[in-house]
Structure formats: C-alpha cells, structure tokens
C-alpha cells in the first residue's frame, strides 16, 4: 500500500532524503511544504554567489521540473501551523488538513540574532538565505559593512563583500578567528590573509549597541566606546534549531528535536533531519552529517535497517586565497601529543593531534594538499606509530628512512638555495668560507645568508661544518629555550625587523617548535612585544609569572606580600594609619620595613588581595610594584630639606623620578637612588641608576649591583639641572627596555653592549635622547596605571576559588 509522506521544509537535508527515496523508487506519495516561496537550493554555496563566483541558478539543486518528474506535490510558500499526532494530520496555514502515514520534519534553523540595543533597525541582517545575500550584493563600492562573528559564515560574508569593494570590518568576541576550528597559530595566518584583502579584523571585541539614524543602522558601538560606521550590519554568530512546530506537537526536544540513530523522533511515525535535530547531545551545522542523516531517514522510511553515526568533521573555508583545513578534535582529552610543522617563509602551518598512535585532529594553513589524507586517517583510526617521524610531511614522504641531516647538507648541489630571504645558494656560502669567512657572523656579513629571518642559521652552520671539517666549532650561543633555536637577541631583532606584534605571530614566523611556548619564553616574549609595540600589543597576563599576574609577591606558603608605594621613601601619618589598619583587618602576620624605604605586609591570602588594595587605595596608596620586572623604588636621603651637608633637593628629585618611571615594565627589576651629597647615604652607587648630587649639578652613574654580584656604578654623565637628569634617566631606561635580554639587569646588558654605546645614544646624541624619552613617555601613557585599583574594581573574582565545598561537606 502506498504510504503518504509529508515533508515539512525544503532544505538540503530533506532534499537529499527525497533524492534517496525517488532513486530507490520508494512506494510513497510525497507532499512537500516549504515556508519559503521556492524549492531547494544549495545553501552552503551562497558565499560563492555573494563573491560573484556563481549565480543563483548555479546553486539550485532541485528545479520545478525535478519535483514534477518525480510526482512530488509541492506547496511552496505555505507554512504548516500544527501537527495532530493522534489523528496523524498536519494543518497548513490556509486551514487545509492532510493525513500522513509518515512525517519528515526538516524545519532547519534560524540564525541567532544577538539582542543588542538596535538589533531591530533596518540594515541589520543575518547571513542565512538568498534575501540576505542579495542585501549584501546590493552594497556599492566603498560603502561600509560590519560583520559580527569571526566564524566560518561571518568570514565568508566578509570576504564576499570585500571582493565587491565594500569596506568591511569583522568584529569577533574571541581572541582569534574561527576558534572552534582553528588554533591560535592558524587563526593568526588567516587573519593576516584577510587583512591583506583589505578587511579590518577586531578580535576580543565586545559589541555593545547598534546606533541608528532615521530607523536605519548607522554604526556598531563596542564596549570600549569605539564606533564602527556601517551601511549594513551582518550578524553571523551561530544558528538555533527551529523546534517550535515539533515542540507544540509534544515531541521531545532539547536544543533540537531529539532523534534516535534511525532519525525517528519520540513519535515513531515522525522523523526529523538536518539542522533542526539533536542527536547524542549534538546539533549540526555542516553539510556532511546532514547528508548522512538524510540517507538514514530515507532508509528508515523504506523499512530498511540503517544507523546514523556521528563522524569527525572537516572544515574548509570558501574564501579564495585562504587555504585552511581543520578536522577532528583538539580539545577535551588526556594523553594527547602535538606534531607541529611551520614554514614561515611560505606561511605554512600544520599541526596534528595524536592520541594512542592515532591522529584525532588536524589543523593546516597555507598548504592543505594533504588534508584529506590526514582526514582519512582520522576517520579510519589508522595506526601511525610506524610513520610518526615523517607523518607531518604527508603521503609523499612515507616509506623512506630518516637521513642524517649533515649528510643531507653535504649532498646538496652548489646551486641549492640555503637562504630563501636573500637568495643565497650553497655555492656562494662555500666560496665565502674558502675566502676566509670561517664563522657564522662572517658568512652572514659577506653573503647575507641567514641575515634576515634567521631560520636558515642551522643550515648555514652545517655548510660551515661540512666545508671546514674539524676546523669549525659550532657556536655555543644559547637558544632562548627548548621551543626555539634562536637566541634572545635574535628574537628581539626579528620582532622589530619583521614587525611581529602578537605571540602567535612570533611562534609562527620564527618557527616555534611547541604549540604555545613554555614558562621560559612566554614571559620574555610578552615583555619584548609590549616594549616594542606598546600601541599594538596587548599584555597577556597568562604569560606572566604569578607575581606580575597577581600584582603581589608569592611566598613559600602560597600567601602573598603587599608593598604599597612610598614615593621617594616619604610617607605620612595618614598613610601609616591606613597600613596599620589594613594589617589589623586582614590578620597580616608580619609587617617589615624593606631595604627600599617602604613597608611590606607579608602573609596576605590571595582572596583578600583585592580588598586590602581597595582599603589602601582609599588612603591614596598605590601598588609599589615590589613584585615586578619594572621600576621598584627610588631610594633617597633627606637632602637640602633637613641635612646640613645636602647640596640639592635629593628627596624631591627622587620623588620626581619615581613619579616618572613607576609602572614601566623592564627586562628585569630596576632600582634607583638619589643621594644629596657625595657621602651617599642613599647608596646610589650600587643601583641600576644612581644620582649623586654635587654643588654643580647631578652625577649620574649606571650599572651598579648589590645582589648576586656587587658592583659600583660607572659614571654616565654629569648634568646641571633636574630636568636633564630626569631626561637622561628616562632615555637610559628606554634604551635598556628596547635592547636588553629579558632577565639581564642593566649591569649585565651594559657589559654586552659597552658603556660607550650607551653614552653615544643617551648622552651625546641629543636627538636620539629625545626620541628615547618620547618613546618611553608613549609607553607610559598606556602602562602607567595602578593595577591594584584596576583589579580591586574589575577582577575580584579571579583572586577567589572558583568553587568552595568546605562548607557543604561540614554539614
């Protein structure tokens, strides 16, 4: 007996199910309802339509003739209002009631619209259907569009509009693009490619409201106050399964319509497929599983056994010139390892996630030719233990035996290119060596090989080694850490010369061997980036040692010490009372006077930190940065105010210096002192920078130490005025910030570059001094702020436990 099948929704999943049914000559009489006034088209190809690569006609999957040929009754533009499961009927909007034997629901999904103020203005659209696509195509050159959402759909919309000459900005809440499919490194490369297409990308950006004018969207306002003008605003932040009809009919629904492995809902005569369903807790937005569901649903309808199994998914972005691939899973699991390959010159990044000798996830950018090979191995759970060494190079490199790298270099012909940046081949390097360039530096200066990006340094050294034999001693330059072969100095140079402004940019362009660095390189990179790019880089608290993250010194029992700033060592009774009150209120076990002329409250619990800071802040006390690689204290004596020997106002100068320098981040801690006469009561001659006042002015010395090493300062310059002393100090600190290796105190850095080199820039060249001062002040305009006040106000929760079960268990 012919069964009556009613299908609700003409989408990609239900369309595919219909194909399976007619291909199998199933004995069914089909009626297809669709609320949209058209049949089925290939929704995922809307992006090529938007970009102008295809037309709507190209993406129609079933035209009117197809439905007619297969005897399918089409009721397009008609909505189903209700389902009566007891009577097995559906009622259409016009009141028609139709009987069914089986019902297939494919109501799809609705785009999520963030309920920002102004979301209902004209000119605010989703990216979902042909109408939306036409709105975007209606923009003319140099009109502006803002896309909220840096996921797959949002970026395709952005690229499509940009290709039409529209000025597009993408606003993304997360720290990098497509965070569900890509890791940070691939996200960085994608961002770079999109920026090259003229698209502006703003990550970690939170939308606040849509501003309108005459009922039309005019701009998007972010929560930091930025306004992004737009003629059209596209929200592409996700989909929500369309479950209303099923829910009203009493079917089991969660986020989507619940279906079992046979695609049956909680009513065995009603099936559901596509973006409206929830299976095993998952909902579906990509096309591959929808097609699998369609096939299973068709077989179930025909009474054949079939089971829907969720598979690993792969993703490709349909944007010309952005070659990326992502498959499988790289989150939530134990025992996983990474295999990472980076080729900075070609902009290639590949990462495989391996678990139990099987690949479970892959991310690739720039060269995705092997993507399907890896995807196949993920799907088939192929054991890769035998080919692990060469796995990342793809199928072309399997089966060979690992080779000795020296032998490989020795075997290279003279015309083989060693340095891609400067086009230097092996023969050039060998010739240079034979003409007397017998170390890396000499080869670099003669041939320029390894002088730009530096990633071929190891190869050049191998050429030196194979050419010179035993005469060549490999240099012992210490790499920064196990994540790279580059030294701190190399990394600093490359961050500047190649304008690397984010941590993932450094990892990628300099070929980091780990996915996200380690506890040695991350704090150093964080400092280098914020020192070199104060306007572009955003400080990363998670790459800082705990003391700088929590703005207090960790003690051996996990408590912290709190040291408020006392400018130049001067305090007041009110400040002292506030400190005493805080010590009482928070049960501070130890109160100690420090060597830096201030007071240390030791033994404060992490969760009390924001409160004690807020209390101290009310008395005007701010962070003393006793925990930072930054300015600690400026020690002073009382100078001309009280001392009968004082020659200048040393206390006053000390306070001015501390006010100028506090809050600055430096490669290591920086301590200053100002003594009012050569008796030097403030011990200025063993500080990083010390000023000794004399009748004729101010003697400035640098590079002292009184720690692991003890060292007297060396004279830098004598100046006549306070203003000059302050300018020289700022310039010196800035030069140190821009050039020193992380964790080198100034005396170690000066030993490397030479005091004359420092004097040349800070003392003799007045233009250079002024430029250094200007750069220092620019950085201070961003970083000179009291972190205690900020954290007490906005980050209290991060100092507390996330959960506390001590009370419950006591009951």
């Amino acid at each position: 007996m012919t069964q009556k099948l009613i299908v609700i929704g003409a989408g990609m999943a239900s369309g595919r199910a219909l194909e399976h049914l007619v291909d199998a000559d199933a004995d069914v009489e089909i009626t297809l309802f669709n609320a949209e006034p058209r049949g089925n088209y290939n929704r995922i190809m809307l992006s090529p339509v938007l970009a102008g690569d295809q037309t709507y006609d190209d993406i129609i999957t079933h035209d009117d003739a197809w439905y007619a040929d297969h005897g399918i009754t089409c009721r397009f533009g008609e909505r189903i209002d209700s389902i009566d499961r007891a009577a097995k009927t559906v009622t259409a909007a016009n009141g028609d009631t139709l009987f069914y034997d089986k019902l297939l629901i494919g109501t799809g999904s609705n785009p999520v619209m963030i309920p920002l103020p102004g979301h209902d203005l004209d000119g605010v659209i989703a990216y979902r259907d042909l109408e939306d696509t036409h709105r975007m195509m209606g923009l003319t050159k140099s009109q502006k569009a803002v896309v909220i959402g840096g996921g797959l759909l949002g970026l395709e919309a952005a690229a499509g509009m940009a290709a039409r000459g529209v000025d597009v900005t993408v606003v993304h809440l997360m720290g990098h693009l497509m965070e569900r499919q890509l890791d940070e490194a691939a996200g960085y490369l994608l961002r770079k490619a999109l920026v090259d297409k003229g698209i502006t990308i703003r990550c970690s950006a939170n939308s606040k409201e849509i501003l309108g004018e005459n009922g039309h969207a005019r701009a998007l306002k972010l929560d930091d106050g930025t306004e992004l003008p737009c003629d059209l605003l596209v929200m592409a932040v996700g989909i929500r399964p369309n479950v209303g009809l099923a829910k009203d009919a009493g079917l089991a629904v969660g986020r989507g319509i619940h279906v079992d492995d046979q695609m049956c809902t909680s009513d065995p005569d009603i099936l559901a497929v596509g973006e409206c369903v929830e299976h095993g807790g998952q909902i579906f937005g990509l096309v591959a599983p929808l097609y699998d569901q369609a096939k299973v649903a068709a077989q179930t309808l025909m009474g054949e056994p079939a089971t829907f199994v969720q598979k690993e998914l792969s993703t490709k972005l349909k944007v010309t010139g952005c070659d990326l691939f992502s498959a499988g899973d790289f989150a939530d699991g134990d025992g996983r390892e990474d295999i990472v390959f980076r080729d900075p010159a070609r902009g290639v990044y590949k990462r495989l996630v391996v678990e139990d000798d099987r690949i479970i996830g892959a991310v690739m950018y720039g060269d995705t030719a092997d993507g399907n090979w890896f995807y196949g191995m993920i799907r088939d759970k192929t054991d890769i233990s035998e080919m692990r060494e060469t796995l990342i190079f793809g199928p072309a490199y399997q089966g060979g035996s690992p080779v000795d790298p020296m032998a490989a270099v020795a075997a290279l012909p003279p015309e083989a290119e060693i340095c891609g940046c400067n086009g230097v081949c092996k023969g050039d390097i060998v010739a240079a060596i034979q003409n007397g360039a017998t170390d890396l530096g000499a080869v670099r200066s003669v041939t320029k090989a390894s002088g730009s990006c530096g990633t071929c340094t190891g190869l050049v050294e191998q050429v030196l080694s194979t050419t010179l034999g035993d005469d060549f001693v490999m240099p012992t330059a210490q790499p920064m850490c196990g994540c790279t072969d580059l030294t701190h100095e190399d990394v600093r140079r490359l961050i500047k010369s190649r304008e690397l402004k984010t941590m993932p940019a450094v990892w990628q362009e300099l070929g980091w061997k780990t996915s996200c660095g380690c506890h040695v390189c991350r704090p150093a990179l964080n400092f280098y980036l914020l020192a070199d790019w104060p306007l572009d880089y955003r400080d990363d608290p998670q790459s800082r040692f705990v003391n700088e993250r929590k703005h207090a010194n960790i003690q051996k029992d996990g408590t912290f010490s709190v040291v408020p700033r006392m400018w130049g060592g001067i305090t007041t009774p009110d400040e002292l009372r506030a400190i005493a009150d805080a010590a009482d209120k928070y049960d501070v076990p130890t109160v100690k006077v420090t060597g830096g002329q201030r007071i240390d409250l030791l033994g404060v619990r992490s969760e009390d930190l924001p409160a004690i800071w807020a209390d101290l802040g009310k008395a005007g006390l701010v962070s003393g940065h006793a925990y930072s690689k930054g300015l600690r204290t400026v020690k002073t004596c009382v100078g001309t105010d009280h001392c009968r020997f004082g020659t200048q106002d040393s206390t006053g100068l000390g306070i001015k210096l501390e006010r100028a320098l506090w809050g600055s981040w430096t490669p290591h801690k920086v301590k200053l002192a100002v003594s009012g006469c050569p008796r030097n009561c403030a011990e200025a001659t063993c500080k990083d920078l010390g000023v000794v006042c004399v009748d004729s002015g101010y003697q400035i010395g640098v590079g002292g130490a009184a720690g692991m090493d003890v060292k007297e300062t060396e004279p830098l310059v004598q100046v006549a005025s306070e203003d000059e002393a302050i300018a020289v100090t700022k310039a010196f600190v800035q030069l140190y910030r821009e050039n020193a290796k992380y964790l080198d105190r100034p005396y170690k850095w000066i030993a490397k570059v030479g005091l004359d080199w420092v004097k040349e820039r800070v003392v003799y060249d007045l233009d250079e001094r002024a430029a250094l001062v200007a750069r220092f002040e620019l950085s201070q305009s961003i970083y000179q702020k009291d972190p205690w006040a900020e954290h007490a106000e906005t980050r209290v929760d991060s100092y507390k436990p996330i959960a506390n079960f001590t009370l419950e268990a006591a009951e």
Partner: protein, 114 residues
Amino acid sequence: MTGPADWIDIGPLDAIPPRGARVVKSPMGCVAVFRTGEDEIYALDNACPHKAGPLAEGIVHGKAVTCPLHNWVISLETGEAQGSDSGSVSTYPARVAQGRILIEAGFLQMRAAE
C-alpha cells in the same frame, strides 16, 4: 561509578582564562583546575610534589604547568613531574559539557586517603 550524578558542576568554562587556572576548595585541601590554550580542562592537587607550591598560580604551557616556587614542570595529564625531577600529584577526572566545568565527585573523598 561514572553516572551523571557523579560529576560536580564547579562553574562556567569562562571563569578560567585560557592557559590559566582556578582553585576549588575542598575539606581535604585545594584542587587546581586548569584550562589549556586548547580549552582542555584538568584537575590536580594544588600542591607541587617538591615543596607543595600552589600549582594553580603557575604558567600553563601545552599540557603542563610550571610551579611558581621552583619551576618544576608538572604534566597536567598524569600529574608527573617532567624532566629530571621526579614526583607526582593526584589528578581527578574533569571535563567540559555545554560550557560548564565538571569534576568527578570522587575528588571530595579520595583526598582523605592522603
């Protein structure tokens, strides 16, 4: 004993920054809950095997944390000290579901055995 009732919801994933950690207090001591750069979640005793340093305050890199007191590197997966150091801390099953962090309830009892 891995039924749904055995998992305790301790808060939203967003409460811990990527490459960061927060502490859960229990009657037997603190458990450090880590979130990696890849949004994986791990739960370990918040005490380094070396000198009981608070691991939750360490720098998280890859699937490891560096103790803030003396730079021991502890695997988040196994709780084992890495490199030439030896020692280990207890780990507890943890996972993320629908944006919430879940820890297996056993962590409230197991710690009594220490």
